[in-house]
Symmetry: D2
Subunit: 403 residues, 4 copies
């Protein structure tokens, strides 16, 4: 993230830490699920903020942030385990200040923010006093192709003037600022050096939250939302660049690497919960005649297949995180694409089985399964659709055969 | 439905009829999708009711209802084609008064309702002046096993007194009456002869709509809802039985046969729409460099596989409807179970591919794909989960090998 | 095939015919399976030839051949049903003179053969006195791409001189003649008009059967084989062209259309047999404690899924055959590609399940399952791999969206 | 295997060892594939025995055998890596004296053989002078259920008299002895204590090799075979028991644990080879117009998915081997069932894709793909079918939910 990679915790220390995280997740946050799943986010926020205070008091706040900045300074391979714990219930990342997209923005500003950006924007973000968003995807353009970005920022005097139309900007509703990808250098030779990142206060004139986008029936709001945004002639100071001019794509890539590992480990925690719910239902649901749902061979096979896929995915992501700590992000680029699609596919299959085992109940918000089934359908799309990642991996592999 | 089976239309007459249905569906109802998909149902209802008036004026109202009762009197095999047209957009069944669960209740009352029930309840239902619901599923019991029904009705004087806890009662919100499955004869020798159907006005004292159940984030309301209901000591006249006492399961089975064919053909229409959207997106979306999404082999393969599965499923359901017209419901019992799971599986795969082709857009309510992806996940669960239908089919087949 | 399309049989006549075919297949040919599956083909041939005589005596010989040429003159849609019966056991096509590749060659020579070719080569083929092969695929070139054909024939005086290296030439071992695809006009403007078909006696000087290619362990011989062939400077008379010069690809396409329907219906018969074996095993195999294999839910689900896929595929192929009879081959080109991959996929899944239900027995040649599992793996490859057919279908569909 | 668990090698030592194994596998054994795949085993054996001598000379013989007995004494977790190397080509296990079923018999005799058994039978087995087999599966009984064993041995004087009908006895053809599972104590209270293991010389009177069973067309012989055997009144000395009387099932279970890890790692090596062949083909095969097979998105996706599944499976098996070394076989019982079905499924998918990428070539014995496709279809059946292992895993998991 910044400076030397963090050292791994000794195993006992890590397990002790995970135990404390787990206790808060399961004893404090799982009981809040009925409210989180059935009420608008703003109504659930007070209760979640109370847990945030407990998390801080317990010294578990922002575990991936360096100690110097108030976090636990965990190595990625240790944080991955925390992330899996946080996947257990939908609001846990928020409660530990580990929620997307703030994590990614924190990392960006820690590594590339100016003194002033750190003081004014990073500090309250680290404290959890504000939230932020990251505006990259555009409605008219395939997300995966950088050449197709329409957002434009031009330097006028000592201001950037930004025109952009973005969507799927997660958590924009209620954010203090956005980091916006826009083309600043349309004539740059390489299409990969045309865009920059701009830090834009959300209350700047010209910023409009067009709507929170309804995702599979969920209107969404506040942190739990994805917005369509317009930036019409928005003026920000020249010093609003995050990182160097033209470095937008390079930084976006840098931002995505650890982010994908966070996602993957969170999905693993979510799949663990789905499997746990599946097993509870299978063990408890009576079918008449003394039989239980778990006596059905189809249900048994779903449980066994889910256990196998989950164990295999977990080891794969842990191995990737360890290698990234050891060898750096570039060395595991292909592996990160690989886990992105592989774990997302596993998650969808496990959720689908868990829903089916729950029958009609699985469609309701009486468990978090339906929430995940609907919202994590995006896992195969966001941060690059499966199809792109698979081709990236294959082309890398095939290069070695053509040499 | 009642009396002799309806005669098939000549092919030209059928195609002419389908063309008129299709015109209303695509020209009048598709434009209402943004409102239907993004606003509470009650806000969209006025526009839909205007289309209902047009449907009546065009002589297309309630096509499966015998001519003597104001419908078109279509044979099942002809109605199946209409049903496929109605699957094209989510509100079409409502606009043609073909919506579940009213269709099933209409069929029940036409075949088994008393004179009084027909006059008081069936007539306004046929006109579309009221809606109704069917309360069978219970939260504590596996839907597929009749022995596990907890609802009880006992005869006190000339009243039935009903105690029941039901859920997933589709469209209960705003319904004029419910048909409720309850055990009336707990001591009957056969567990299949213990329950009866009771017609219960929704405004009877003791009827409580506990909640509309949130389905994958969609709160639901009015017709577009699934309710949890309580019936606490609800009294209705002795004459409220629909059909004979103890015949509840027999009638429920009778109700489900054509209902499953309606569902299956509606799903086929929905899958056709999903494939159409997929193709539009593939043909139109540019990827840069002159390439389009539809040039990608993965997308091509999804289109071809969807076309193949759809054509095969359509022929299978049509064949089943024709055989049911010709040979009766009993003769095609195994086939109806078979199409139930087979078509539901096809629908889910096609919707999943269509979502993926749309990327982030596929998760929004800017197309109906996300609505269906979330709501039709239930297709593999309601009216009997896949697993039950598969075992039913296999056991029937294996019986022939043990003879 | 030639002249006006054949008329459909009345249903009763068709069913009577199918019953007689079925009787020979099940009573005479199934008992020969142990020998066919475990001994070299030449050792089984005498018994098969005895059945051939019975087939002729019963008036069932070569049912797709016009009556004027000694067959039954069936319409494609009727022959499709016969083909399904013949799929029941591996040697049935041979016994009815319906075996690939002779069927395709017969159709070619009936439609395009010269008087002399018909007298000398077609007549004994029709009688079953000789066999033939069709040499198109080349080891160095992707089968699906006509531009990549290396075989060359040049006219020298009144002879063609042929140089070619072919493989996967089915049944070349023991054939009297081959029809060989070779480039005769390398300079033709369209790459689709460069090749012609040549009739080459297998005993011509320069023809070498390099080897019968071992397919998944089966060495293969005689009709039940696939050969690698070399044609080194083979000279045949100028009149050896089948059809016009440069028409090779057009005729190959013409040949493939009905051939794919034959294949698909044969696969359906094979899948029916696999399902039948699966059910027999499930119904008969005891697991101890009074339970049978068919009581296992996994086995039940495989049976039900296989039944559903089979019924759907059968209707799809029948519908295609009827449309081809009615509207001609060109009108159903897309549909033929579609059934090719869809039915091949179904066959592989059903065979895989049937093998699994049989356990170790499923791997042996004590049933025909292993033979089909190994040999019909090619169904997804020969006559165009799945991937090519899927893209063909999708591109045809997408064209309609770009208009 | 016997005594204290072996210590792990330092990483460098292990990698050096693996490098030497790999060199022999790829440089000496891969070139023998054409002969191994296309000729009867006995014709290939001389060349393989020459490699055996080199393996011995290189000090790589029987790596899993304790140093005291002439092996390398590898820990299971180290041997697992060797096993993956040996999966690269079909004859490699034979060349390193690591072939099933001899490995399992070696382990049995090392742990439970009498002094005499070790001297007479184990010693030549360790040297590779003889081969052996393990006769458990019976044609009439479901392999997975011990209660259904028909083989009987009764003590007459100081001899056991054995009557048994076995099949799928791998490598019986040419074996010096068999270890036979038979019921010796039919009245034992527990059905799990009724059977014993008997060491039976294959040349004992009454032992008949009925046939080598044809597996998907491959007749099989010598080591590369699976036999049907009869034991009719075969007399062996009372001292022929391997391990205690009644301990047959306990020992069979003990034998299977490490055996399944060996299998799984061998399959991983085989899948690696299949993926390597897939990539070579994709990178090298031209499609015309400058395009290569590997430019096709479908092929890219197969490569990426195979890489992902392979990496995940490899880590899962390595993790299991390490835990077994550390915690013992009992602690990983559930995990061993889990990897058995999970890795077998991965292998089949990767082989299927590799065959498809090779087109017709993939069906031939010009690569080892077809051999594996046919022979490793058994991977989902032998040592317990997938369905049994999945239910075992699920029931173990569900137990924890019922406590």
């Amino acid at each position: 993230m910044s400076g030397a990679p963090a050292a791994r915790l000794p195993r006992e220390a890590r397990d002790e830490l995970l135990g404390r995280v787990r206790a808060i997740v399961r004893e404090r946050l799982v009981p809040l699920e009925p409210e989180f799943l059935n009420r608008p986010f703003r109504e659930a926020r007070a209760a979640l903020d109370a847990v945030r205070a407990e998390v801080k008091a317990a010294g578990l706040w922002a575990p991936y942030v360096p100690r110097a900045h108030g976090g636990l300074g965990l190595a990625l391979a240790d944080y991955a385990h925390v992330s899996a714990e946080l996947g257990w219930t939908p609001a846990a990342p928020y409660a530990f200040n580990c929620q997307a997209p703030d994590v990614g923005n924190l990392e960006l500003l820690l590594a590339h923010g100016s003194e002033e950006q750190r003081a004014r924007w990073l500090a309250p973000l680290l404290r959890g006093d504000v939230r932020s968003c990251f505006a990259m995807t555009e409605p008219g353009n395939a997300g995966a192709n950088p050449v197709l970005l329409d957002a434009r920022a031009r330097l006028e005097g000592d201001s950037w003037v930004l025109d952009a139309h973005k969507w799927f900007t997660t958590a924009a509703d209620g954010s203090a600022f956005a980091i916006v990808m826009a083309v600043t250098d349309p004539e740059a030779a390489s299409p990969y050096q045309r865009a920059s990142m701009l830090l834009v206060p959300m209350d700047a004139p010209g910023v409009t939250l067009v709507r929170n986008i309804r995702i599979m029936g969920d209107p969404g709001e506040d942190w739990a939302s994805h917005a369509e945004l317009r930036f019409d002639g928005v003026r920000v100071p020249a010093a609003s660049l995050v990182g160097p001019r033209g470095a937008g794509f390079a930084l976006a890539q840098e931002r995505l690497g650890p982010g994908r590992i966070h996602h993957c480990m969170r999905w693993i925690g979510t799949a663990e919960r789905a499997l746990d719910l599946m097993c509870r239902r299978a063990a408890g649901r009576e079918l008449g005649g003394g039989a239980r749902l778990g006596d059905q061979q189809a249900v048994q096979h779903w449980i066994a297949e889910s256990r196998a896929e989950l164990d295999a995915c977990r080891l794969l992501v842990e191995d990737t995180a360890e290698r990234m700590d050891r060898e750096g992000q570039k060395a595991v680029k292909e592996r990160i694409s690989l886990i992105k699609f592989h774990v997302a596919g596993m998650l969808q299959r496990v959720l689908d089985r868990a829903v089916q085992v729950h029958g009609a109940l699985g469609l309701t918000h009486d468990t978090p399964l339906a929430f995940w089934y609907a919202h994590e359908r995006g896992a195969r799309i966001y941060d690059g659709p499966d199809e792109v990642h698979k081709s990236v991996v294959a082309r890398d592999i095939l290069k070695r055969y053509r040499a």
